[in-house]
Amino acid sequence: MSDQPTLYPFDDLPLLTSDLLSPKKTQKKAPKEVVEHIYTVGEFLDVVNQKIKSIETTIQGEIGKVDVRGAAVYFTLNDKKEKATLSCIVWRNKLNSMGIELREGLEVKVVGHPTIYKPMGKFSLEVQYITPIGEGALKLAFEKLKRDLEAKGYFNEARKRPLPRYPQKIGLITSMSGEAQRDFITHLGTYGLKVYFYDVRVEGVKSIPSVVSAIQWFNEHDTGVEVLVVTRGGGSLESLQAFNSEEVAKAIFSSRIPVISAIGHERDVTIADHVADCRASTPTHAGKMLSEYWSLAAQTIETYEQNISAVFKNRCSRLKEILTHYEATWITGFMRSIYARRERLATLESSLTGSFRHIFQRLEFIEKTFAMNHLKLQTSINTVSHNLMRAEQELINGAECYHSFLIKYLDHLNNGLILSDPELKLKQGYSITKNSAGNVLKDPAATMKGDIITVQLYKGSLTSKVEKNT
């Protein structure tokens, strides 16, 4: 797509006084309706300047002398084919924003409108855009702008924003007639996305304001667009010039909406690519980039579903296994415990029974012993009783004997007594001599001469005095 300059043949230029006063009237009627109005030079030049301002034209030529004075840069544009020269003025800040270094001999296309400099009455072209012609010049301009913007932080990765993963609304800035939009749309997939398509010029000097306006439009209108795609197909450095301009770079830099630039082919890296939040190598790549997560989503969802279900099922079966294991362990343990208790009970029972048996045996033994002892005792009692009875009998018998004996003995004693009776002795003529104390005297030595002694006789007693004891 080429940018055709608007041509204004000299005859069409409304420079007649009548036109200046009554713009609606045609110039053909002018000569008859000339009004004698006297202008000052300044007024006249003001009117002319006002009128010719709208004649925006693109002119190609070679830069001649360059003169930088204050805020303005003056240069001449020369015709290569014939001797023709045009004075040009460009504001310094505008020139800086173009990233072009004006050098003598550089061939350029300039866009601007004519103006007359009042103090000198000099006709010149006030330049809006300058596009270098020729790869070398463009390359130099590109490198210079790149350096400048880099220094200003335009390419800083830290300020770049991530793209939305699942964009629903996309702002597409490209030419409706270009291949780029078809490639982009073809590879965007079909995910129910809303694409706001802003048709712009992507080549020629007017492409710069066109692209800038589109970026600004999206930033100024509440469309809900989440990402802007600035794209065009491949081309020469000259045809990509808009995307190597500071204006477009600034518009991308200032955009509150993240921007993907997809300019040209993979090898074409423009200033716009450096400034954009994300660079796609081609329009196709940009489409794929935005649909990537959408196309992966179905697969991702599938994976998540499988993972979640599998993990849950796995977990459930693991829990079942654990439960089964626990159940088995617990039952076994419980049964074992029951068996152990039973065994213990049996042991205790057995032990107890044993103990009782022992006690019973002991009791039996005691009983037997007791019975035996009882028998013994009985025997003993019987024996004792018998003995007693015998003893009693013997005693009785003995007593009786003793009684007889005693009687006999008494009789004997009696007989002895009778024989021993002193009276009987006395009667037989024996006497008993006693001392004065009454003691029976058996030895004369027990008496002394002169003792009084009593001699008892059968019939009476004698008192005598010891005369002699021999």
Binding site: K169, K194, Y196, S213, Y304, I308, F312, R315
Partner: protein, 73 residues
């Protein structure tokens, strides 16, 4: 549309979290069941969203042209 977008991105994010949760060593069965249910719902809604296929194109060239005209006037 914004709600839909948020829902889809949110749903995917939640699914991602649920999936991550399920990858953890020890999962609580009750919580797992509730997360499984939520996950299934989210998967269904995401699938429904993905089944909307055709894109919509709105050409805004006319607006631009109108603005351009206004500027030149």
């Amino acid at each position: 549309m914004d709600t839909k977008k948020t829902d889809f991105a949110d749903a995917i994010k939640k699914l991602e979290e649920i999936n991550k949760w399920f990858q953890s060593e020890d999962i609580d069965l009750d919580e797992g069941l509730s997360k499984l249910r939520l996950g299934k719902e989210l998967i269904k809604s995401c699938r429904d969203r993905l089944s909307t296929v055709e894109n919509e194109f709105l050409k805004i060239k006319e607006d631009f042209v109108e603005e351009e005209k206004k500027e030149t006037e």
